[in-house]
């Protein structure tokens, strides 16, 4: 069993765990964390695909994909968390009024 | 193996000992403050010994300087965050 395949299976397991929780949880914060774990699984798949053994240089193209992905992920996470905080403030003010 | 490498390996094992001891202390000690005590041993001496062993094995000036810099920051950060966590634990009554 090659190293790359081993890490790919790890990535697939991460995707499975994250997807399961992402669908079933109703807590918004947990959903955002699940989304981040899901992304880590996808990134592991890409990076394992780029691996060419301990001596050779790895394929730089999937690495660039993942780097772009990390930036987009942190942006979306920040937006989602800002929405959660806003929603929370709104719920709080509704609770306060009634 | 050259004598220098044997020395480096010995130092690395000593550093590893501090990390193992720090982790065991983290698991076995009864409260936050004594666990903090376990943590600082691994942070300061453990990392110092690992860095020293790595520096001896690579025998490269720029690598040695970078290792010293990393160690310095870890010690600084761990002293500060240890202080902050202890203060926080004391104030919010999480000490016991």
């Amino acid at each position: 069993m090659s190293t790359a395949l081993l890490y790919s299976f790890g990535g697939i397991l991460l995707i499975g765990v994250a997807l399961h929780r992402l669908v079933l949880t109703t807590d918004l914060l947990r959903r955002v964390v699940a989304l981040n774990v899901f992304a880590a699984g996808i990134a592991s798949l890409l990076i394992a695909a780029a691996y060419r053994g301990p001596e050779a240089a790895a394929d730089p193209v999937p690495h660039a994909f993942v780097l772009t992905g990390i930036v987009v992920l942190v942006s979306t996470t920040a937006a989602a968390l800002a929405l959660i905080r806003r929603l929370d403030d709104l719920e709080r003010s509704v609770d306060h009024d009634t | 193996m050259t004598p220098l490498e044997i020395l480096a390996i010995g130092i690395l094992f000593a550093g590893l000992g501090f990390f193992v001891a720090g982790t065991v202390g983290m698991l076995r000690f009864p409260d936050v403050f004594s666990r903090l005590h376990a943590l600082t041993k691994a942070d300061n001496l453990g990392l110092a010994l690992i860095a020293l062993g790595t520096a001896l094995l690579t025998a490269d000036t720029s690598v040695t300087l970078k290792l010293m810099l990393i160690w310095f920051f870890v010690v600084l950060a761990s002293a500060t965050s240890g202080h902050l966590i202890a203060r926080h634990a004391l104030r919010s009554g999480q000490g016991s």
Binding site: I70 | L76, L84
Partner: protein, 316 residues
Amino acid sequence: MLLWLVFDLVLIGAIVWLAWAALAARDGFEMIVLFMVLGLFVALAWVRLQAPDVALAEAAVGSGITGALLLKTWRHRRGRAAGDAAADARPSRALGFGVMGLVTVLTGMLAAVLVLIPRPAPSLAETVFANLAVSGVDNPVTAVLLNFRAYDTLLEVVVLFAVVVVVWLLGDAEADRRAPRLGSIFFGFARLVLPVMVLIAGYLLWLGGFAPGGAFQAGAVLGAVGIVLLLGRLYTPTAADRLPARLVFGLGTVGFAGAGLATLALGNAFLGYPPEAAKTWILVIEAMLTVSIAATLAGLFFGAAPSGRPTRESDR
């Protein structure tokens, strides 16, 4: 060889277990700390797979900035059991099994594809290495990001800009709350470490030309400086900061697109740098991106447009 296998298996096992433990944690705070630790392990795995550029970005973002954002949101929702399992509606048994079955089928299909695809898989690596000499940089990942696929990176910066616009329209400003009492040791630490962090950000930017590093990693470290400044109230944005903040947020997109238009004016393709000066073009673009990304990340952490209300030093 056997020891490497042991190392790999322990590392992969730890990553999968951590992901499960974080997402199944009873307590929201436990979930966030486990997620931050997952970032450490994932970075180690990527180092093992010869992806130091990505591991560097994960080190700066995964356990640093995302962790800070999650903690801030969790604190914001305190008293509402955010992230706690108690806040979770228990799914019915049938639904639980149904989802489990679907996830198993999907991951099984993914695994089958992985085993069945011909190896070595098709790759653009040879093309990248063949053209590295004309890209202006020696780090292949930087060459892909800033030269061969600069379009993607431009759009990535646009995403960052769009998100900061969204976040500015939402939420309350951190400065409206009382300043935390962090103590003199923290301020001594900040005075010593923050300037060095700025230096290290510059070092990472310079490094990106020939080794793991680059605009995003540098921007993330610089953004972390901004987050510490905001947290310790060493710097409190007011309404007067809105215009400069807008300008810096836009600098990445406008500067990058402007460079593309400039290359068009020179008679090249959009973002096709003149080969003899490619290194300078890339470095200038990366410097603009670093500043803009750092300001954007700090702005995302701040979480709202600064309101201009003065900080209450010690209220009540």
